[in-house]
């Protein structure tokens, strides 16, 4: 798993370790989330990203602060990498008002205006057209940002995908569509979702440039994402990047995983992006075993602090239930 991709971009020690740290932080954060779920601190739906970390980390490093990011309900990782404080994410998942969405959203609805993080969207494919509109606004206002929109391969079956792709291509707006193909939409495997399972062919139906990449290989994702982002920026046109990946955990906390073999999961775990990248960095002498230990401890601390913070946070008063239903109710 430590093969070097064709043209890896030269990484400094610091950069390399930062990227690895991001993956480790996601992993630890989500393991803790699962624990807090079983302790009933977190409720509702909880969708873990464990196994898919290389996608969020690899794509997000190609984005700038002026770019917009939209995700699905499986977005803890994206939020962390985008720079949301783990504390306010955990507080949100606890439902506390210090959370990034005031506790209103929970795990599925992380929002953060400061980092242009537009959710946390829980209607599958419901955010794709919004992404097109945000890019349209950037184009009309002659701003430089691009809009990066993550979604699962299941979303591609929705009509919403089709309309968003066609509009983005027609209007020539800068959207980076990132399909996180983890081969399952809940319990429905790719081959039962799509008659055409080569998802890059979907782009051609709209004249949109597309590429696929091994989403378990961080360097490969980074490179593909850099190419994709550069293309979007240089052409002002949309791009479809398919990242083939796998979720190691259940779809959500209500999933008996009847639809796939344990052995399949085990096979994919051999391609875990964290040891993969770890091995590469060791080989490149950009990381020591001690560095990694320290990294793990740091991440565990950050996560523990997030939990401690969330515990001390407060509940929004019931009187504020309807606040922000309309703007005039805003204080």
């Amino acid at each position: 798993m430590a093969q070097e991709p064709a043209t890896a971009k030269p990484l400094t020690r610091e950069q390399a370790q930062k990227l690895l740290y991001q993956m480790v932080l996601i992993r630890k954060f989500e393991e803790m989330s699962a624990e807090m779920y079983t302790k009933t601190k977190i409720r509702g739906f909880l969708h873990l990203y464990i196994g898919e970390e290389a996608v969020a980390v690899g794509v997000m490093q190609s984005l700038g602060t002026e770019d917009n990011v939209l995700c699905t309900y499986r977005e803890h990782g994206h939020a962390l990498v985008r720079g949301l404080d783990p504390k306010i994410i955990m507080a949100e998942m606890y439902g506390k008002q210090e959370g990034c969405s005031r506790g209103r959203g929970g795990s599925m609805h992380l929002f953060d205006a400061k980092t242009r993080f537009y959710g946390g969207n829980a209607i599958v494919a419901g955010h794709l057209a919004m992404a097109v509109g945000m890019a349209l606004a950037d184009k009309k206002m002659k701003r430089n940002g691009l809009t990066c929109c993550f979604f699962g391969e299941g979303a591609i079956a929705e009509g919403a995908f089709h309309e968003a792709m066609n509009l983005a291509a027609l209007w020539q707006v800068p959207v980076l569509f990132v399909c996180e193909n983890n081969f399952y939409a809940m319990g429905t495997a790719l081959r039962y979702t799509h008659a055409q399972t080569d998802l890059t062919l979907k782009g051609a139906a709209y004249g949109i440039a597309s590429a696929a990449v091994d989403g378990m290989d961080l360097l490969a994702v980074m490179q593909a994402a850099d190419t994709a982002s550069d293309t979007v920026r240089n052409t002002g046109k949309p791009y479809l990047l398919v990242c083939n990946t796998y979720r190691f955990r259940a779809h959500s906390m209500f999933d008996a995983e009847l639809y796939r073999e344990k052995s399949e999961v085990e096979e994919w775990k051999k391609r875990d992006p964290i040891p993969g990248f770890y091995n590469y960095l060791m080989l490149q002498q950009l990381l020591t075993a001690d560095d990694f230990k320290a990294m793990e401890i740091q991440a565990e601390n950050e996560v523990q602090e997030a939990v401690d913070f969330a515990e001390t946070c407060s509940w929004e008063p019931v009187e504020e239930l309807t606040k922000y239903t309309y703007s005039e109710n805003a204080s």
């Binding site: 439902g95 599925m108 079956a157 429905t188 239903t325």
Partner: protein, 328 residues
């Protein structure tokens, strides 16, 4: 389960099994109904029992597979289409309103659509704004549809069969928060009249008119009220369209007072309609104005305390009723 206790989930499942066994034109389709076992384990093992022709996993394409259900119904099948939850139903609402609900009339009586659509609904599991909608009122507005709400184990078990016999499109709301609840099934049911509301508890002081998760909540409140000597009648609407006006009117004509209870937000709701009908038919019989206890007019927030505050709870039903009776 001891004795004849049965979960609401099991009721639905038995109803589906019975339908599949009883008529080979019946098949079920929807997202994750097969291999996953149903998002809420309602259809677990049905794929194994009936095979992939009768239990069809569909892609994420609500408009597509609901439309296909309409077509299959036109083609002589008796599809049960599951929309995983009501929250995704708007994606298929054009199909339901413009095709399923209008084809019979628009074709001058030539093409009826014997389709059943089941949806999980209701709030109470901290699923936040996009997954906690109570959209019964939207469907109940549409002519051409029959809209059912299974607020009890009895209805979860026995509504599907008559729905499948109906020559026209039927929408069934099922409630996720009830799935694990155990209860007894009444003896000798087995056939339900899906044109009739049902008095779930008789009483003479006030009519609580409700549906869905409101039924058990209202029965709970009625029990509590009984302790204070207040004898509340609980009317389960069950059929949200076309409403069984006679049962409502008969109840209110006896009790002279009514409280309408529902989870959906108040404006333009089932409660509005029931109140308006009582106004039209029972005005001179009323001893007090009809009141509504409904969901708050807000996207449902995630935290438990806010979620609870967003819909009527038994305690509020009790206090609302005491209030009505005091002032009357």
């Amino acid at each position: 389960m001891p004795d004849n206790l049965i979960t609401y989930r099991e009721c639905i499942k038995q109803a589906i099994r019975e339908a599949l066994l009883g008529d080979e034109r019946v098949f079920m389709m929807g997202e994750d109904v097969g291999r996953y076992g149903g998002a809420f384990a309602v259809s677990k093992n049905l794929l194994q029992e009936f095979g992939p022709e009768r239990i069809m996993d569909t892609p994420l394409s609500e408009a597509g597979f609901v439309g296909a259900g309409i077509g299959a119904a036109l083609g002589g099948m008796r599809p049960i289409v599951e929309i995983m939850t009501v929250n995704f139903s708007l994606l298929a609402l054009d199909q339901i309103a413009n095709n399923a609900a209008t084809l019979l009339h628009m074709s001058g009586g030539q093409f009826n659509v014997p389709l059943v659509i089941r949806m999980s609904a209701g709030i109470g599991r901290q699923l936040a704004a996009q997954h906690s909608h109570s959209w019964e009122p939207l469907f109940a507005h549409l002519p051409g549809l029959r809209v059912l709400s299974a607020g009890t184990h009895e209805d979860a078990r026995y509504m599907l069969a008559p729905a499948l016999l109906d020559p026209d499109p039927v929408i069934i709301f099922e409630y996720t928060s009830l799935l694990n609840l155990e209860n007894k099934l009444p003896e000798n049911t087995g056939s339900i009249d899906i044109s009739k509301a049902k008095v779930r508890r008789e009483g003479k002081d006030i009519s609580i008119i409700t549906y869905g998760t409101g039924v058990y909540k209202s029965l709970e409140a009625a029990t509590e009220l009984a302790a204070s000597g207040i004898d509340a009648e609980v009317v389960d609407l069950r059929i949200l369209r076309p409403l069984d006006e006679e049962t409502i009117i008969a109840s209110v004509a006896e009790t002279h007072r009514a409280l309408i209870v529902e989870d959906a937000s108040k404006s333009v709701s089932i409660s509005s309609e029931v109140s308006a009908r009582i106004m039209e038919r029972c005005f001179y019989e009323l001893d007090a104005p009809v009141k509504r206890l409904c969901g708050a007019e807000v996207p449902i927030p995630y935290p438990k305390h806010l979620e609870d505050a967003a819909v009527p709870q038994p305690a509020q039903i009790v206090s609302s009723i005491k209030n009505i009776l005091q002032h009357a």
